[in-house]
């Protein structure tokens, strides 16, 4: 019973945090130009909030995240490209704030790692299965001399 209750309460907590996350953007932050607003949201959705590190700037209620949302919009209004806006934030907080880090020497492991592991696993599985099939098929289905003699002996006994 306790387990069920615990499960329920964590479900409710999840649901609540999702609703709260959608409420992070405040109406006064939204740009009047829908195309520019869309760009701004695209950028802030992929910026990490440095206060609550596993939320995006778009989702976070932290005051610092709000400041960064406003800065992103100011820079877009000033005519900067998305890359320029991102570069502005990265120059201050580092590549760490990019939730989708660019492929580089130091981030190669994140990008390639899972595929490399999958390839290794498939390779090991293939080897293992091939070996198992060979083992289940001894001497290509032929019996040894000894075995044939035993079979004959058994068959004779049966015919008696």
């Amino acid at each position: 019973m306790m387990r069920v209750l615990q499960g329920l309460s964590s479900l409710v907590a999840c649901a609540l945090s999702v609703t709260l996350a959608f409420a992070a953007m405040e109406p006064d932050e939204i740009l009047s130009d829908p195309a520019k607003e869309k760009r701004a949201r695209g950028i802030t959705k992929e910026l990490r909030c440095v206060v609550c590190q596993n939320q995006s700037v778009d989702d976070s209620d932290a005051p610092l995240a709000k400041d960064i949302r406003l800065i992103v919009r100011e820079r877009i209004m000033a005519g900067e490209t998305d890359d320029q806006v991102r570069a502005f934030v990265v120059a201050r907080y580092g590549q760490y704030v990019l939730l989708r880090p660019p492929l580089g020497v130091d981030t190669a492991l994140i990008w390639i790692g899972p595929f490399a592991l999958l390839a290794i696993a498939l390779g090991v599985a293939t080897l293992y299965l091939r070996r198992a099939r060979v083992a289940g098929d001894p001497a290509n289905g032929k019996l040894s001399l000894e075995e044939e003699q035993r079979v004959e002996a058994l068959l004779k006994d049966d015919g008696r």
Binding site: V50, V51, Q53, P63, L64, D67, I68, I71, V90, A91, R92, Y93, G94, Y96
Partner: protein, 178 residues
């Protein structure tokens, strides 16, 4: 099959245990600042109750100093404050304050209540200078060298241990630089 291969899963498992054990000892809120070893960004902040002087880049020239990001709303700053007061009374190093997203009256009341360790306080009410400094929370303290370059960022309240083990030796090194 080579018997050694049988120990491979165990070896991989132990490797992962080691990796995560190291990971658990690290503080995820400590993000190494990308601004370390770079000159201070442009700073030009008003100093409360002063019209003759501003907290700007010239303030930091020619001496090793600390720039301490604080706010009256910041609980950990209250913990750190006595340490800063002691450093100021010992004239250990000039400490400059950056009042981050604070109301000037509240900040002044806070200083009046607890004491003033700062040589100068810059009022960053909008928090834009703090973002230029890559501040992620308060308190944070930057160690600035003679040339106005950021040499270290300390995240969280400075306590006696942090001062003696980290900051004091670093400052001594920086003061020995030409």
């Amino acid at each position: 099959m080579n018997r050694a291969v049988l120990f491979l899963p165990l070896a991989i498992f132990m490797g992962l245990v080691g990796y995560f054990a190291i990971g658990l000892t690290r503080n995820p809120s400590e993000i190494r600042s990308v601004l370390v070893d770079k000159p201070l960004p442009a700073i030009d902040l008003p100093v409360p109750d002063r019209t003759d002087i501003r907290l700007d880049n010239a303030t930091f020239q020619g001496k090793v100093s600390l720039l301490n990001v604080f706010a009256s709303w910041c609980i950990a700053c209250r913990v750190e404050h006595p340490v800063l007061l002691r450093l100021a009374s010992e004239k250990a190093i000039p400490i400059y304050g950056l009042a981050w997203k604070d109301k000037p009256e509240e900040m002044k009341a806070w200083i009046a209540e607890l004491g003033d360790p700062y040589s100068l306080i810059g009022d960053d009410a909008k928090g834009r200078t703090a973002i230029d400094l890559g501040v992620t929370g308060a308190p944070e303290t930057f160690v600035i060298d003679r040339k106005g370059k950021i040499r270290y960022k300390f995240v969280g309240p400075i306590d006696d241990y942090a001062w003696e083990s980290t900051l004091k030796p670093l400052i001594k090194l920086l003061e020995a630089e030409p």
